[in-house]
């Protein structure tokens, strides 16, 4: 009853899209992990990255892969500026304030983007070929996007675990005052971490754009905000590698529940919508995770 090509295609998609989810979640998780700020305006930064790739590719013919570091740099600068402009005063403030502040920043960026670039939906085609594998077609640009995502995650992981900057960041996370008295400029660590988190988010937006190449518009990031929340919780808020694992796991979960709901629909002849129910299942999975393992599935 189940078509093997369908299963294989689902597995491949789950893996590829999972990497994208992973890198997006990572951006959210860095900011939360270090500053304890839940970035509700997350989607706006994703959107920014997508536009950067779009413009550089469309208007200047820059290879989309090369736009990822550009996005990262722009996001980094933006995050750094944001920290000193507003969020410096909000470290340690009640959740509500930081939630609202990030929301406001998100709205600001989205609306400025809309005014500057119009609300029109844009897209591009970067066709570098297709791989045909056992009847399943895998688009190379998606593979490239997924590999870039892996590279970003690996880079961040290296930075946080193998460098002295990373050691300092972990020190700040565990005890800001302790970090202060060993001579760590805690303020700077916060600023750099925010910059890094936003940088990764914007770069993630570029990677997403390479993956999808379509649907670039000012409000495109909003659905990814909710998705990233779900995955971040599964990963364990603040966990780096966990973001990737949870992203991929979520990709598989989506694929599997889609297949399952499809089979239920066909078998019972129910008037249900498998793809939509998949979303519902994802959120109930989130609840279950929070209930049983609130520290996340991949927290050591």
């Amino acid at each position: 009853m189940v078509d093997p090509a369908l299963v294989l295609s689902s597995v491949v998609t789950a893996l590829l899209v999972g990497c994208i989810y992973g890198v997006l979640t990572l951006g959210l998780n860095i900011v939360f992990g270090v500053l304890r700020i839940v970035n509700v305006g997350f989607g706006a930064f994703v959107m920014l990255g997508a536009y950067i790739t779009y413009f550089l590719y469309k208007d200047y013919g820059v290879n989309p892969l090369l736009t990822i570091p550009v996005s990262f740099a722009i996001g980094f600068a933006l995050g750094y500026a944001m920290y000193y402009a507003a969020f410096r005063r909000l470290v340690g403030a009640p959740e509500l304030s930081t939630l609202l502040a990030t929301f406001a920043v998100g709205v600001l960026i989205q609306e400025l983007a809309r005014i500057a670039w119009s609300p029109d939906i844009r897209g591009f085609t970067w066709d570098i070929g297709v791989l045909e594998l056992a009847g399943v077609r895998i688009v190379y640009s998606k593979v490239v996007a997924a590999l870039s995502a892996l590279a970003v995650v690996a880079g961040v992981y290296y930075l946080f675990t193998r460098t002295r900057f990373g050691l300092a960041v972990r020190a700040v996370v565990q005890d800001p005052e302790g970090a202060m008295v060993v001579g760590i400029n805690v303020d700077r660590i916060y600023a750099v971490s925010m910059a890094l988190g936003i940088g990764v988010t914007v770069a993630g937006g570029s990677i997403l754009a390479i993956y999808l190449q379509q649907g670039i518009e000012p409000y495109m990031g909003i659905p990814y905000t909710l998705l990233a929340f779900v995955i971040a919780v599964m990963a364990g808020l603040g966990s780096i590698l966990g973001s990737l694992y949870a992203g991929i796991l979520f990709g598989f979960f989506e694929a599997a529940s889609f297949l399952a709901f499809s089979m239920i629909k066909d078998a019972l002849g129910l008037d249900i919508l498998p793809y939509v129910l998949t979303r519902s299942a994802a959120f109930f999975l989130l609840l279950l995770t929070l209930l049983l393992k609130p520290e996340g599935l991949f927290r050591r």
Binding site: F32, R36, V38, V40, A86, R89, L90, A93, P94, E95, L96, S97, L99, L100, A101, F103, A104, V105, V107, L108, E111, L112, R114, I115, L226, F229, V230, A232, V233, L237, F261, D271, I272, L273, P274, Y275, V276, L277, T278, R279, S280, F283, F284, L286, L287, L290, L291, P294
Partner: protein
Amino acid sequence: MASGGGLEPLLDTLKAAARKAGPALAVYLVLLAAYFIFPERRQLIATILFYALLGGAFNIFMGMTGYVDFGYVAFLAMGAYGMAIAFTYMADLGYWAIPVGFAIGAILASILAGIVGGIALRLRGAYFAIATIGVNEGIRFLIEGGNLLGGSVGLLFAGKIKEALGDDGFKMITSTGSDLILFGLAFLTVAVTALILSTRVGFALQAIREDEDAAKALGINVTKYKLIAFTTSAVLASLLGATFWSLKGNYVEPARVFNIHYTVEAIIVVMLGGAGTLLGPLVGAVIYQGFNFALNTYVAPFLRELGIHALGIHLPIFALILLAVIVAMPEGIVGYLRARVRSRVLREVLA
């Protein structure tokens, strides 16, 4: 106490509640007067009321316990669906469909509050916020994906209201009728909030907000009081959803009634005005909606006359103002004033 009778403490409580409710009730009465004096502004006033109530009901839980329920909008949705169900499937009840609709909505909302409260109230901070988002989205996609209650199309039932109430009844209930119910809800919300603040429940909630562990160790049944606040907030929200979205709007569509945007707006209204205060959400709503309406309907056309075509320029401006308020006045406008006003009378008014 000497008499041991139950009447005296009750009177005391009511007196205290009335004192607390006074200023907010007065402002609502002014709004009510304005509603009748300025018929061309009825919908603006109704919209302000909607936001004041959106914030007011939210405030009961968030303002008093410090928990942020991002899935709050789901309770409005429960109410909206309740009313929609009453009219869609029980139109032959006539006017009785209205109380039945409220009841279904309130029951759905309290069931949901019970379930969510039971699960998510164990979590704190960001985890709680995200869990509640999960509940909201989960229900929405369940309705859409399972093709329940009209699925993603939702329920449009203006015709059913006409069927139940007749043409004139329809006109009345979708305009003045629902607006007056909104006023009634406003008074109810103020009264309930004031009553909570004037009883042990309010004290318990404030203690929980300030230090939950201390409250627990001191012998306050933390779970119980959080659930009371959560459910109260949920039921009031459901009544609001039933009135504004169903009686007034006659259309319930999952993509809209589960839109997190409304939660964010509730937070904005509460934060602008001041969390945990009675007057706060009202002040927040007046500013939020008034500002929006004025910018949109007066400033934007004026700019257009001048040849400036910045459509929706008020949104980024508003975002900046919001950011400034959060950074400079984290306790909201009412809270800010209260903390700085030395006069006791004024402080009580602002509380």
